[in-house]
Amino acid sequence: MTRVWVTIALVAFAGVVIKGVGALILGRRELPERALGVVALFAPALLAALVVFQTFGATGGGFALDARAAGVAAAGVALALRVPLLLALLLAAGVAAGIRAV
């Protein structure tokens, strides 16, 4: 159990440092002009990578093709048809759950 508590403390500390170190170094300074172009594109890059990782990532690492992909694809079609986001999310869950129930 000591191992668990030590791990929780270290992982939490690492997270605090990782999230805070950018602000500690930059302080009140602004980013240089050219970096703003990178920051502006950060959201599409991150979101695209997250979609891939959370759709195809296997537990513990690696690639997996399962019911998630069908659910996300269904949501993608719904979003393309301008269906509201909440409905698209329900559809994603429903399709993935339905495939697993068969």
């Binding site: 508590w5 999230k19 602000a23």
Partner: protein, 226 residues
Amino acid sequence: VTDPAAPRAGDETFRDGLRLAWPLFLPTAISGAAFGVFAREAGWGTVAPIVASMVIFGGSAQFASASVLGSGGSIVSTVVAAILVHGRFLAMGVAISPSLRGGRWRRALESQAIVDASMALANRGDGSFSRTRLLGATATQYVAWAGGTVLGSLAGDALGDVETLGIDAVFPAFFLGLLVQELRDRRAVETALLGAALALVLLPLTPPGIPVIAGSAAALLGLRRR
């Protein structure tokens, strides 16, 4: 037709942030409960999973910790795995710092609100972020995640099973919904395609965390001159 779940230009308050993250509340709570159950089965007891969710507040790092420790891995390898999956927050901290308030320590404290969905929801698309939207969106997810873990640790799968309910398809679908709104111009589309391709290629080859960091690096396309 505007989607009430989509961020708009005027959405600048903490309440807007709370509301924008609302579609994630139930899926996050159910996933938090799943962590509580998973960690308890890995021998963590009932209190440690709750504390972990409150102080780590990161699903991938927490599941990685519980599974590496549970399979007999060392503390060092567990912490390294967690650092890898948290690594992308380093770049996010740099990106958001100018949008935060106060001196370096205040900003470092506010940076603790960084999580994937909140960063995306706070993004204004011009290189700046809405600080209040970030804090609000994170508050919604924090309550759901920690509260869900309390339920899962004490009551088991009371909210239902993540896979049976298809909850694991909701998160990528949510990020896809946010991504669609980010595709404002050709540069954004090119960046997203490159990011997805990098993540897909690296997924079978690298430990968890690396595909997302590499995919995010597609933002470096922003260094090109217009």
